[in-house]
């Protein structure tokens, strides 16, 4: 197939570096926190959100010996988030607001997700929240306890989205479409059974994440809906919800809309595709 093998995954350890790489044009595409992409677009960076990476897959973890058992117990505590411009920040904002509190009642610090488990273990922070598998790592290593799963507070939670530079959309539209098609069909394949998830955990942990396969196997199975990979199309209502919350939280200014920061055409074209026929490399 034309274009097969052109995609080069580039691994980062923090969102600030990803942001700089897409702003400078070093990366034509990247997975990024949805509110961060909206804010960059508002600042004039020529990017568009074209697809989702997954849904759900975020939790808030506290130390298993801590006295934090509810949102109200977070008063005065320090919480690590991956970035101020993240849905993890917005879900804290929402959860505190729903419990009659505000972000002024807690201390929020930004931290790269790979550093979060050690910070919780050493109790230099009271709670951590990011995408998996770093939350599950604290459970597997027996010092973390789930305070909440994002899906229980914000159903169909969106964390990372696929962002593409507008020059790449203009010059290599077919490559962008093929990438979106690939994510869509891989997602369908992942939802095709637990054996598929286990095969993916084994391959991805070794080839891309450099993590213990047992960790990803745990994340993709406990519970099975901890992360979902179907329904990755861009839905205007989902983003308008994020937008409204981000404006209310003061991380996004009014005046930007779905049509400014999103291009749903790739997502629409990917609909109806078949599941990827993938076999784990021997």
């Amino acid at each position: 197939m034309k274009g097969e093998g052109i995609y080069e995954p580039v691994r980062f350890s923090g969102f600030p570096e990803i942001k700089e790489s897409i702003v400078s044009g070093h990366l034509p595409a990247t997975f990024m926190l949805a509110p961060l992409a909206m804010v960059l677009r508002q600042q004039g960076v020529p990017i568009k959100i074209v697809y989702l990476g997954h849904r759900d897959g975020t939790a808030m973890m506290v130390h298993k010996d801590s006295a934090i058992y509810s949102i109200r117990d977070l008063r005065g505590k320090t919480i690590a988030v991956p970035n101020r411009y993240s849905n993890q920040y917005l879900i804290i904002f929402k959860a505190l607001r729903d419990n009659g509190m505000s972000v002024k009642d807690v201390k929020i610090v930004e931290m790269a997700p790979p550093d979060m488990p050690a910070a919780l273990y050493s109790r230099s922070v009271d709670a951590i929240t990011s995408g998996e598998p770093f939350m599950a790592q604290t459970q597997l290593e027996n010092y973390g306890r789930v305070l909440y799963q994002a899906k229980d507070i914000w159903p169909n939670f969106i964390s990372c989205v696929l962002v593409v530079h507008e020059s790449a959309i203009k010059e290599h539209r077919d490559w962008v479409q093929r990438l979106v098609d690939g994510i869509a069909s891989s997602g369908k394949w992942l939802e095709g059974g637990m054996d598929h998830r286990m095969m993916a955990a084994e391959a991805v942990s070794k080839q891309y994440y450099n993590q213990n396969p047992r960790l990803l196997q745990y994340v993709l199975s406990t519970p099975p809906d901890r992360i979902t990979y179907d329904n990755l199309s861009l839905a205007r209502s989902d983003f308008e919800q994020i937008e409204a919350l981000a404006v209310e939280a003061g991380i996004l200014k009014k005046g930007i809309g779905f049509d400014d920061y999103a291009d749903p055409s790739f997502s629409l074209q990917a609909q109806g595709g078949k599941a990827y026929n993938w076999e784990s490399p021997k």
Partner: protein
């Protein structure tokens, strides 16, 4: 053409010739960084990610 202009032309011509020979013999045109980058970007599409779901 004045004597000064002739001299300047000879110096500039010599400088350009030496520069060309240096790049050709010591660096090689195929190894120029901008050219490698342009060729690489023609063939690959980098996608950034963090090892989170």
């Amino acid at each position: 053409m004045s004597k000064g202009l002739k001299l300047a032309s000879v110096v500039l011509g010599g400088f350009l010739t030496l520069s060309f020979l240096h790049v050709w013999l010591n660096v090689g045109f195929e190894n120029l960084r901008w050219r490698r980058r342009a060729e690489a970007s023609e063939k690959s599409f980098r996608v950034g990610f963090l090892p989170v779901t």
